[in-house]
Subunit: 229 residues, 2 copies
């Protein structure tokens, strides 16, 4: 079973086909999760989440009452806590619901402290073990996470990808892509942006010995340069 | 002298008053810099940059010709290079133009590999020495960087702030804010989001012994929750 979780990030950054993604998930009996305000945003899309997680402190009383009425499994997190709402959601999805993978929507845009929490929570020792099964997806980016070892990165229909060391990493090698990197070690996050697949349909190889690496697949959106000032 | 640099990030994330900011800078004879497509975006705002830095590989020939015609100091970076365009810009601003501080605009939104480059380039040993003099500014966030030591963080007119360890950090302490933290050490990036100033106008204290820390001041934007689906 796949899980789809919607966080509270701005709608402008959601995948353009988010409603189709979620309706298809619902038809497949995948798990649909709302995190905090994400539960309300799912209801606005006409989709009742199977599971809601949050402290709900940003919701009005009537909004929370609506969720409590419709959602079968509601979890209340502690506002002053060891886990963020998203971290708690990941643990419940993998440990209790035993999902095989998790697609996180609404994780980007808006407040940058929120985005960085979502991007870097995979480093939390209690989340790390699930990181390779988690994808962050928005309108123009898809983010995957990798643990040490040798990886074949499947071709994706995005013109660019960046490789980010999220922590100290040893012997990072990128092979069979447009730009190569060999046995690179670094003690802090560094981002190799704007790499490309060597050819349409062609995988590339990624390997490293320590830490965590993220691959960010991305595309440009034309709209950005054609707005009125 | 202050420098203002515009990168190529999407306009939706620019400060709402970006034109006023730049016109005021121009009147003050501050340095205005365009990085790659940012030079063209400045011209679209009616502001000719004093300095342009980039490889310009995303520009059309006529667009590049326009910049070459109007900008007094143009620098061409090498597309396969040791420094990104933004890193090169920072070095030129501080080393050649001897600016006192730098405000970076257009650094957020859009392609996440690009944003992460902008966020984490301060860790580059050649940029690190300037990091405390650099601010990233967008529509709802202001990002500052701190080196080890004791810091009094001046009150800012933002309701929230997050504290992010950008690398391994020792003995991180946050005092005199809404939520405290004492002597926290961590080997990788971790974000303490949604903290608040204790009172309007009241500073807080930040100290740590190793690494680099960023403070992200932020506000919510109502618009995010009132769009049509």
């Amino acid at each position: 079973m796949i899980a789809y979780a919607l966080l509270g990030g701005p709608k402008e950054e959601w995948p353009i086909d988010i409603k189709d993604i979620l309706l298809k998930a619902q038809n497949n009996h995948d798990l649909i999760i709302g995190v905090d305000r994400g539960s309300l945003l799912l209801e606005e899309l006409g989709i009742t989440p199977d599971l809601a997680v949050g402290d709900y402190d940003s919701l009005k009383k009537a909004e929370l009452a609506q969720i409590e009425h419709s959602v079968a499994d509601i979890r209340y997190s502690n506002p002053i806590k060891n886990y963020t709402d998203s971290e708690l959601m990941i643990r419940i999805a993998f440990e209790e619901y035993q999902v095989d993978s998790l697609v996180i929507l609404g994780a980007t845009g808006g407040r940058i402290d929120h985005f960085l929490v979502n991007m870097f929570m995979m480093l939390n020792p209690d989340v790390r073990q699930y990181s390779e099964k988690i994808v962050l997806l928005d309108r123009q980016n898809k983010i995957r996470y990798y643990l040490p070892g040798q990886h074949k990165i499947a071709w994706e229909n995005y013109p660019y990808f960046g490789v980010a060391t999220l922590s100290a990493v040893d012997n990072l090698t990128i092979a069979e892509a447009k730009y190569h990197l060999e046995n690179y070690s670094v003690a802090y996050p560094q981002i190799f942006s704007s790499n490309e697949f060597a050819d349409k349909g062609k995988d590339f190889k990624l390997s490293f010995a320590k830490g965590m690496v993220s691959v960010i697949f991305s595309k440009d959106l034309e709209r950005f340069y054609h707005l009125n000032n």
